[in-house]
Symmetry: C4
Subunit: 228 residues, 4 copies
């Protein structure tokens, strides 16, 4: 596969962004060793940039990022792509509005996933960012489309940018990779807070219209940037 | 609105203080991403200095802090003020002795807030700093005076400088911004310790006269500075 | 009070040691803000060196350490001594083999203290360092000898260098300040591990003769230094 | 004992590797103070390199590592070997495929060990790395072969590279020291996640054939390196 020079320039920028965002995973205590990854769609091309397999976070550079097509086949890179590439690729192929995907086994979110239990929307921060409960996806083996399909099917029926894959971990999506990383950070934070709240009783519910109001406001007016 | 040059000089100092204190939030693990903020009253002016919205902690500088009036309207700054500004402003307007306000979603304190449960005064450190239980404020939607009113009404009937806003997070006050940050740090610390104590049984109570004695002593003799 | 020049030289070394050991408290997550302190006996003098009150850990230097006599009265220093000085001084006065004392409100140990419950000796590490359960001391108000007496009475009947003071926090002792800091680090570590073990069931007991054998071995053969 | 110069060169490399890997223990929060150690077999020699006793992690250098034979007797080094050396040596003597051993008292894994309870294989990450439940070894006193025998007997009947020694802590093995460190990091991570999952209910099981499929895939295709 030959890449036009305009696409090559775009890829260089995406490599730099994806490499830099990987530093957020250990900084926010979402990962240990090599067990999490960030990818981004290459704009105007059926390509994605993702972490190489088995490389530790402190060794990640723009140059060792890997480029694949949307079937997860290697296009550019000296390393093998992350073993989770098929799942990322499936999401980009079937959710055209998604520009970034993150996968982690962050502790509290994965604990909810181990029980196959959604995180209930009992904090204003959950209403803001996730617009309701954070849903659970199916158990799926690595190696074919199962994980990708589970992610897409679960998130298609939800406002949440995060899905708890049963017995496995978390996948998050965003309009770009930074938004997907933010969702992964927020998902673990609320997974932990609601877990701790539940340990000593039952968190109070938030009424559905209040959830809707919080979500609408946060998605439209928060931050300095254009709305998400 | 034109600012007199004396006020401008004061504001420069307050900007520096508020910017520096934001570093305490991640250092003390009270926040993730951009989800917490510090403000300070500008002495001798109906103004406050607060964090800009959606800016990350490592990017905070004195220059990108925002100045608003006590109705939360932008007076000076290139960024939009924090979306929590209305709550901070309401506190300064209605509690003239308050010089600093902090808002976080720190994990353990927010877990108590999710259940709508006050933190009982079962540690000498709680008696020292909070003078009794740490109270719960009402559920309130962002966007008008509701959060500010909830904070002021709850704290007006308490010796505590911290309030747990239901399903939301923590607000703390102080004679200055540093004291409010200290209260936020202590609030999370005792929220965590009492949570953990409660997981395996019931903490022993402290008698009310002992709480009073501890509070009186700590407020008057502790530290190198003039009493708080 | 005039200090002989030999004692002055000794004090300079003790100031440096005590200042440096304070860095271990935040490094090992035993403290927040200013809420913990280390002291050391000045050899061959009825004096101790301790943290100044209300000073943050990153501002601690050998020069701002404070020297008091064994009644807690200021002998040398520009700052007021820690408000816990009376307790440290009482220990040195009544336990001549003690060369260092540490006080913290470390989270898990303080949670056991809040329930007034001893930490059971269910780990080899507890047997090694503490020689049995970590005992609970009485509730005591700050301001007179009560805390000091509680520490001395509790530790006099135990092999443990740590005592959990009810509703308050932890005091540890050692032949020198470094050993007391080590005991404080180990105390929090085992308080946390046993807490977590207890959350999902009952830790298995260790037989008393095995505890004795582990304690005897660790106190006599471990490490590169002369036995403790 | 005289060492041939070829072996001396090999030892220099092993010293450097083992010293560097010790930094992973505090970085991954597996240890406090001096309470954990890494060793590696010296290829083509009946020797091992291990941490000196009682030395803190920030003071570890290639030069202060200790060399012993496979009975744990000192061969080279200015310090005494770790008090756990006998256990490491026993493993190398009886498991010829093992090139690295790690010992920690990491919090969550040790909490399972305190109850004498295996960590159930309810996460894909456990299936990947451990191939099933993480087993419990016997209670054993330090000072003779008991700990080493307990490790070898437990791991010989398991695909797991980690064993939870009752009331004590964790030992992990690998084809080299880095693999053993990775197993120690993963063991604590899954011990924590499954603990948290269990606090609020029962994790869903993974079917045995799925565990087998995950283990086979991970052991054979993951990462950039030759299969483990």
């Amino acid at each position: 596969m030959t890449l036009a020079s305009a696409v090559r320039g775009t890829i260089a920028g995406v490599r730099a962004t994806v490499a830099a965002l990987h530093a957020e995973l250990p900084r926010n205590e979402l990962v240990v060793w090599t067990a999490g990854n960030v990818s981004a769609r290459v704009p105007d091309a059926d390509l994605l940039v993702i972490k190489p397999s088995g490389v530790r976070y402190e060794e990640i550079t723009p140059d060792n990022m890997v480029v694949t097509d949307l079937d997860g086949r290697l296009v550019e890179g000296e390393h093998a792509p992350s073993s989770d590439t098929a799942a990322h690729a499936y999401v980009y192929k079937h959710m055209p509005h998604v520009g970034g995907v993150v996968h982690t086994h962050s502790t509290y979110a994965t604990a909810w996933a181990a029980r196959g239990e959604a995180i209930p929307c009992v904090l204003t921060m959950i209403a803001d960012e996730f617009g309701g409960d954070i849903p659970v996806g199916p158990f799926a083996l690595i190696g074919d489309d199962s994980i990708g399909r589970g992610i897409v099917e679960t998130l298609s029926g939800s406002r949440s940018p995060a899905v708890l894959m049963r017995n496995h971990g978390v996948f998050t999506i965003g309009r770009d990779a930074k938004a997907a990383v933010k969702a992964a950070v927020m998902c673990e934070d609320v997974a932990r807070t609601v877990h701790i709240a539940r340990q000593l009783g039952t968190p109070l519910p938030i009424a559905a219209p209040d959830i809707d109001a919080l979500y609408a406001r946060y998605q439209n007016v928060y931050g300095q940037e254009t709305p998400k």
